[in-house]
Amino acid sequence: MSLFVASLGFGLVTASILAVAAVGFTLQFGVTNILNLAFGDIMTAAAFMGYIATSNGASIWLALAIGGAFGAVFSVLLNRLLYTPFARRGTRLFGMIIVTIAVSLIIQNGIQAIWGPSFFSLKFSPGHSYHVLGSMVFTTAQFGIMGIAVVAMVGVYGLLRYTKLGKAMRATASDPALARSCGIATDRVIDVAWILSGALCGIAGIALAMNVTSFTSTTGGTFLIAIVAAAVLGGVGQAYGAMLGALTIGISSEVAAGLIAPSWKQVVAFAVLVAVLLIRPQGILSEVAEEKEVVA
């Protein structure tokens, strides 16, 4: 029983990283209709920025800010310089996926060319370990990761729900042409979506590097499957859905590892994904997935 409670708690850490990344991933897709499969590799690149920062004496919190800033700038430039020209030429979803895979490989191999096929660790102390509810033990860094996730989720929720920009983003996600005709500067909204998504991506990259403790050029790319799963589970394009998806994937995988066996971790998590999609093919909260050609 205590292991079950512990696995629920540990699932929250995994879910926190996953939620930050999945919300960033799905937010950008919802607004731009580009399934950016280079997302995981941008996370890796941000982790390397964090590595440079912490190796030069920066605190882990500054590294998080640097990672977020890097992700934001990199993502918006990636869109402006690469994805938008393709989109203007009429490249559709499948074609764009291929382009994003190419970008993913370029980033991954570029990192490997610069830093080599080795492993790196952020220079930081995970801090003290604290016992929670008896069986759960979290480090200061893990509390930090969960805190960041909560702040990011509340921030995204507030942005989308209560600000003009958020409404404009939701309108653009729902129907870009109609949003434009209503006077919304959709290009600017799309830029903001990329910046926001990129910032979350960068922060998630640093958080992932903190949690795994040693990372390499493929670390973020490996994590992408879970990110996409969380996004699809929640309903592609739905930020709130991604949060729910992340919680479902994160907690179910940890509970499976605790109650069944570690090798069932991913089996159970993805079985839950398949089961949910059988019942709700559009995902838990999706309103736009069908329109975005993601589901049949």
């Binding site: 995994t14 996953l18 096929p117 492993f119 995970p126 949690n211 795994v212 605790g258």
Partner: protein
């Protein structure tokens, strides 16, 4: 497909068998270096030549074998059974003085061992496949440990250190899981208990739940083999929970990428204090090794950058393989494989009155004086089991500050005892 190519190879061999045979007096005897020299495992070939060439040079300097000089002939298997079987048949058919083979490797062993065995060619294979642990191939010899032998070495080292409760934490990939069955059997055989046996999904962002479940069973030691990131995350979480304990890994955990990842995760001090990797013993000391090393460094004209192979256990086994073949020919007074192969195992056995020899020259001298010999190789004492497998010994290596340091060993006798029990 492998079987089909093997059968076709056998048919060709059956036709060509009568064409071969050893050359006349004074002809040069050929040892086939049968390994990949191109493709993904192209590094295997040069590594093999790093053992073969010094050995034949020393044999020739000592006057050769029964009036014959010896030479090494590279035969490229390309690491692919589809290329290796034709390469084997061609080698057998066209090399009239072929007396033995070094190899095949795991890339092509399943397809080519039957071919070589049917042609009565003694082979010192470097495949680690457990399928050859109990093989009935008469001409098959193996001086390198089989992959599953690692489990015995890990269990024995933990036992020697006094640990009786252990957790097995291995990646769920085929390579890592191949170590587990023998580890479980051996540790139980020694009186220990595996309190937790975890097969980890690789490269997860956290293993907190797994670590908590493992620690709840109160092990004294962790056995492991997983990819660097997986073990780094797992062991860092063990440390974060304040219950770091000794860790015994396979030779995979002595690779630089693993050491860097885990050292970065748990810190160099914990790395030095707790983590040990077990690898095949390549002592790089002793009389036999010194002779090998000197001959290797002297072969710089034919071996590129020879010093890189000086401490390579595989190069040492190839060197020993050639020496054993040459000494067996002397013992049998014949260069015919069918005549000399039965002498190979006896040359390594300790027996009353036998003189321990460390080189071909010394062995030749003692045999000429009518004495029995026991050959001790560059890899140390060789003990074959009845399937012609010599597991060899293992050494426990720690890695303080990235430098490897041997802290103890597990003997081949101990491993063979566990194998017999399992």
């Amino acid at each position: 497909m492998k079987r089909l190519t093997a059968v076709l190879g056998l048919l060709v061999i059956a036709f060509l068998a009568g064409c071969g045979g050893q050359g006349g007096k004074g002809s040069t005897l050929v040892v086939g270096a049968f390994n990949p020299f191109s493709g993904g495992d192209a590094s295997f070939g040069p590594e093999m030549m790093g053992g073969c060439i010094p050995a034949v040079n020393l044999v020739n300097q000592a006057g050769g074998v029964l009036g014959h000089k010896m030479t090494c002939q590279a035969v490229d298997t390309r690491g692919d059974p589809a290329d290796a079987v034709p390469a084997a048949t061609k080698m057998i058919a066209t090399t009239t003085n072929l007396v033995g083979v070094l190899g095949p490797s795991a890339d092509e062993a399943q397809a080519t061992v039957p071919v070589l065995n049917s042609a009565q060619i003694p082979m010192f294979a470097d495949t680690g496949e457990a399928a050859f642990d109990h093989s009935k191939y008469q001409y098959f010899y193996r001086l390198t440990p089989a992959d599953d032998v690692k489990g015995y070495a890990l269990a024995q080292w933990a036992y020697q250190k006094g640990w009786r409760r252990a957790a097995a934490v291995f990646g769920n990939d085929v390579g890592a899981q191949s170590d587990v069955p023998t580890l479980l059997k051996a540790f139980k055989e020694l009186g220990g208990t595996i309190v937790s046996n975890q097969s980890l999904a690789l490269d997860q962002s956290s293993y907190r739940t797994e670590v908590t479940a493992m620690l709840a069973k109160h092990p004294q030691v962790i056995f492991t083999e997983a990819d660097p990131q997986t073990d780094a995350t797992y062991l860092s979480e063990v440390k974060q929970l304040g219950q770091m304990m000794p860790v015994i890994g396979t030779e995979t955990t002595l690779q630089s990428s693993w050491l860097k990842a885990v050292s970065g995760a748990i810190g160099p001090a914990a790395m030095t204090k707790y983590v040990v990797g077990m690898q095949p013993l390549a002592p790089a000391t002793g009389t036999s090794w010194k002779i090998f090393d000197k001959a290797l460094l002297a072969a710089k004209k034919s071996v590129s950058n020879p010093s890189q192979w000086a401490t390579d256990p595989y190069s040492m086994t190839y060197y020993d393989g050639v020496n054993l073949m040459a000494l067996a020919m002397l013992k049998a007074n014949s260069t015919k494989p069918a005549d000399y192969a039965p002498q190979i195992v006896g040359l390594t056995q300790a027996k009353p009155g036998a003189v321990v020899v460390h080189s071909f020259a010394q062995g030749k001298h003692e045999m000429a004086a009518g004495k029995q010999i026991q050959y001790v190789g560059a890899i140390g004492t060789i003990i074959f089991d009845r399937w012609h497998n010599a597991s060899g010994a293992y050494e426990a290596v720690s890695s303080p500050n990235g430098q490897t340091k041997i802290i103890g060993s597990v003997s081949s006798a101990q491993i063979n005892k566990l194998k017999a029990g399992a």
